[in-house]
């Protein structure tokens, strides 16, 4: 019973503290709002760079994309992407630039060609094969048991006695 007033006082103090902090946060946000147009442009560019970097593989740490990796080469290649986009290249052109140097391997979304056919249709082939196997199995299970012959019947009866 005695703990309650203490808890209430603590809550009140917390609320007062939050109230005191609130004006601060209010004061800060309007100051940030009028963003200069250059920053907005950079933001759009950053987005395009990040978008591309996410679908390109880092060749140093191959399980990471260029966006995730901090390897020096990944940093260089991110800068390359930015430079090219600033220079007016399209996303496709940047992708082609990377493929020309590092091969299809840099693409996390490999193109559909003869050498990648197994990669693209393999999962579907396996799915269909699995479905066929399952279907055959279930069909066999659903088939009624063949009726017992007279001899089997009398043998079963003997065993059950």
């Amino acid at each position: 019973m005695r703990a309650r007033p203490a808890a209430a006082r603590l809550l009140a103090a917390l609320a007062a503290g939050l109230a005191a902090l609130a004006p601060l946060s209010w004061a800060q946000s309007p100051a940030q709002e009028p963003a200069p147009p250059v920053a907005a442009e950079n933001l759009a560019l950053d987005k395009r760079v990040a978008g591309l970097a996410h679908e390109l593989r880092c060749l140093v740490c191959q399980n990471q994309s260029l966006a995730e990796s901090n390897a020096p080469l990944a940093v260089d290649l991110r800068n390359q992407i930015r430079e090219q986009l600033v220079g007016g290249a399209s996303e496709r052109e940047v992708r082609e630039y990377m493929v020309a140097r590092y091969g299809d391997f840099v693409l996390y979304r490999p193109p559909l060609k003869a050498t990648t056919l197994a990669l693209w249709i393999g999962p579907f082939v396996l799915l269909v094969a699995g479905a066929i196997l399952l279907w055959r199995r279930l069909a066999r299970r659903r088939a009624p048991e063949p009726p017992l012959s007279e001899a089997q019947r009398s043998r079963a009866a003997k065993l059950l006695e």
Binding site: L59, P72, L77
Partner: protein
């Protein structure tokens, strides 16, 4: 019958995985083989005021080795690069990659300089055009300026003996 199926499937899986284990995932087949070597003009490591261009390589077979003083595997392959240069089959030049002259020059002094000269790619910008993603890398470029071979990672005596030297001999016969 069913057992045969299961054993067969398992054996196939084992073979598949075993083959996968023998492959080196770091060796990405380069799309640059058979393509013209990307053009460049770079300052020399020893003489910053002088430059060397890729066009000057035309008419001769070249070996180009991308190296850096901070790269430990470069030190490992150094005896092989030296032996290759000494064989005299082709001039061996270095491309010093993302390095500082104050580090690279003492490195050559310490370990010996097998290169005819090294070009200095401080920012690694030209190396990107050559698809370099890990030093050391070694290129064989033919007299028409076409990249004929690329080795990723440290050169070994086996690679030198079985891949590079036969190729250099073949190319010098052609020209």
């Amino acid at each position: 019958m069913r057992l045969a199926w299961v054993v067969g499937a398992f054996a196939a899986l084992v073979v598949l995985l075993a083959v996968g284990l023998t492959l080196n995932p770091r060796e990405v087949p380069s799309p640059l083989i058979g393509k013209p070597a990307p053009a460049f003009e770079l300052p020399l490591l020893h003489a910053p005021e002088k430059t060397f261009t890729q066009r000057e390589m035309l008419g001769k077979v070249w070996v180009m080795n991308v190296w850096a003083s901070w790269c430990t595997p470069c030190l490992v392959e150094h005896p092989v690069v030296t032996a290759l240069a000494k064989s005299g089959l082709a001039p061996v030049i270095g491309m010093n990659y993302k390095d500082a002259r104050e580090d690279a020059l003492p490195w050559l002094k310490r370990n010996g300089d097998p290169f005819l000269f090294s070009v200095y790619d401080a920012k690694g910008r030209i190396a990107i055009d050559y698809g370099v993603y890990g030093v050391p890398e070694t290129y064989v470029i033919d007299p028409r300026g076409v990249i004929r071979y690329k080795h990723i990672g440290p050169l070994t005596p086996e690679v030198q003996r079985d891949k590079i030297e036969p190729l250099l001999k073949e190319l010098s016969r052609e020209s």
